[in-house]
Amino acid sequence: MWEHFAHQADIGIRATADSLSRAFEEAALALTAIITEPQKVEAIESVQIECSGGNEELLLVNWLSSVIYEMDVRKTLFSKFNVKIENLRLSAVVWGEKINQNKHFPAVEPKAVTYNQLSVKNENGEWTVQCVIDV
């Protein structure tokens, strides 16, 4: 489950799931939803992403930064994510398709992941991750 939350200049993303890796997948979906409706993005091409971080919060920043990087250099939107996290090392396969301005009507481009309102929490086995994306 994901949602966007208000930030005066930019857009906050928040995701909740029963595991950290699922919450990271949902957060990436929330990232795509800043640009377009994720259901409009077909899972045609796949890309492998590996990253790590000193703690879970930094891992979230590095994960979403990696997704933004791949979106930007491949001109691709992603709609399906398979994330594995072990000992603060993340390995993922992400699927999507090339941006088509006449199909996706992209609203705005995520520039970067900020450390603003960044948090990763586990309460009663439920993971909630959030941060603000600069657009």
Binding site: H4, F5, A6, H7, Q8, A9, D10, I11, G12, I35, G54, L58, V61, N62, S65, I68, Y69, D72, V73, K75, L77, K98, I99, Q101, N102, H104, F105, P106, A107, V108, E109, K111, A112, V113, T114, Y115, N116, L118, V132, D134, V135
Partner: protein, 476 residues
């Protein structure tokens, strides 16, 4: 944090006395209405910056201040490198050297009325804009390094525009001492196909009409007359700048502690200017500035091509190009002594007064043009830097309207199609590929730009010269 107590120290100037870890006061320029609109989160960002090492005089906020991350948007802070002063990636932001460039077209409204729709269509078609758009130039890795070292000067050497254009860009179109080797391969890769693209969000290309002149003498020096048609470009350093911000924020956050810098907010990640990482970031960030300048130079050529197809004899002459997300080494007077300081302007415009050596000869007696972008439905303004601006806030002024409402709220409140219709009734043509993008940029999601400009002028940060109304706006 609760809203700190504000002391009114001037009609348009409010002070937060230092408390807690603040080394200097916070100073906010605003009228009563604008100050009431500035929330406690923005104010706590002003206070956090005041707690960074080596800050000189005060942590400033311009009248368009609103919540950012780390620094507030509209934040200005000077740091003394000889006194442990820091450099902060968050004080520049991810869109390094985002800025505005404005040209004269030499045309009047009568001349464009009959071809307005055609002109809007041509600009929308020929200027790459929006998410995923690519330019017509793909740079090799050598070319990228030369571009990062040379900025707009590199672009002119490659045939984009003329040498005369360079006189009307800050620092002659090239940030000196850029170090392209300090920019990561990932950042360079992001830029490979993005030269000559506008981007998205609040970036735009506008055709505007001068509707008011406030200072006849300066307007004449800037070549502005009532009824003139102008073109403005608002964009930045594209993917390259965003990646430099990402890369260095990560490094600064992990190294700050080793320099004993306590971060009240991780986004304020900073290291001493005179540290290896500080110097690396300066070299990379200056490369980012050059990327933005080269990008706006290439866009200039694209705009000129569109105009020359429709108006074969036009010559789009530069008024000025000024960035509003930068950190620059500048000489300023502090307590009567000249000092070399690193001035961070995050969503704030440099506003050098008359006599500055960085100004082209024809503007020298009048001050630097300060280009203030409005929204697609409200006016933009051209101001001029004042002599007193240096003593007020290290020669800085506002940069735009500043958001008053979040994007999520804006999309709940408005629909893009409704905004296009309403603006069409006011004879403003909007071109965009995304109706949601337009809703997020709704004019009413911003502060009143006229009030921001009025407060800026009344505070003495810059002088009002001209007001411009949009006729056509191409949104990224």
């Amino acid at each position: 944090m609760a809203r700190p107590e504000l002391k009114r120290i001037g009609e348009y100037c409010w002070q937060i006395e230092p408390f807690g870890k603040m080394h200097v006061p916070g100073i906010i320029f605003a009228d009563r209405n604008l100050i009431n609109d500035i929330d406690e989160k923005t104010m706590s960002q002003v206070c956090n910056v005041a707690a960074l090492p080596g800050i000189v005089k005060a942590s400033f906020a311009m009248p368009d201040a609103h919540m950012g991350y780390g620094f507030c948007i509209g934040g200005v802070a000077a740091f003394d490198p000889d006194d442990g002063g820091v450099i902060s990636g968050g004080g520049v932001g991810f869109d390094i050297a985002c800025g505005v460039r404005t040209f004269h077209t030499g045309l009047t409204e009568d001349q464009i009325t009959s071809v307005k729709e055609k002109l809007a269509e041509a600009m929308f078609r020929d200027i790459p804009a929006g998410v995923g758009s690519t330019g017509n130039i793909t740079l090799t890795s050598d070319a990228i390094n030369n571009m990062l070292a040379g900025g707009a000067v590199w672009a002119v050497e490659k045939g984009f525009g003329t040498k005369e254009d360079l006189d009307f860009i800050e620092e002659g179109g090239c940030a000196k001492d850029a170090i392209p080797a300090k920019v990561s391969p990932q950042a360079k890769k992001r830029q490979q196909e993005q030269m000559g693209t506008l981007g998205s969000g609040n970036h735009y290309l506008e055709i505007q009409k001068v509707i008011d002149i406030y200072d006849a003498q300066i307007a004449e020096a800037f070549g502005l007359k009532k009824g003139d048609i102008m073109v403005s470009i608002h964009c930045g350093s594209r993917g390259l700048g965003h990646q430099i911000g990402t890369d260095y924020l990560r490094e600064m956050a992990s190294q700050a502690a080793q320099y004993g810098i306590e971060l009240p907010d991780r986004e304020l990640a900073s290291v001493p200017v005179n540290s290896p990482l500080g110097q690396d970031y300066l070299g990379a960030m200056r490369s980012g500035i050059n990327c933005a300048l080269a990008n706006r130079q290439i866009l200039t050529v694209l705009v000129r091509k569109v105009f020359s197809k429709i108006f074969p004899n036009t010559n789009l002459k530069m008024l000025y190009d000024v960035s509003h997300n930068t950190a620059k080494m500048e000489e300023h007077k502090v307590n009567g002594k000249s000092k070399n300081l690193l001035i961070h302007r995050k969503g704030a415009t440099r506003s050098y007064g008359p006599g500055s050596s960085d100004l082209p000869a024809c503007y020298k007696a009048f001050g630097q043009p300060v280009l203030i972008g409005g929204t697609m439905g409200t006016s933009s303004y051209i101001l001029a830097g004042t002599s007193e601006s240096e003593s007020l806030a290290f020669s800085s002024a506002c940069h735009g309207a500043g958001r008053s409402m979040s994007r999520t709220q804006a999309t709940k409140q408005w629909q893009g199609s409704q905004i296009v219709r309403q603006l069409a009734e006011r004879k403003i043509i909007i071109k965009s590929r995304s109706m949601r993008g337009l809703a997020e940029e709704a004019p009413d999601a911003y502060k009143n730009v006229s009030a921001v400009v009025e407060a800026t002028a009344n505070a003495g940060l810059a002088k009002k010269v001209a007001k411009l109304l949009p006729l056509i706006c191409v949104k990224g």
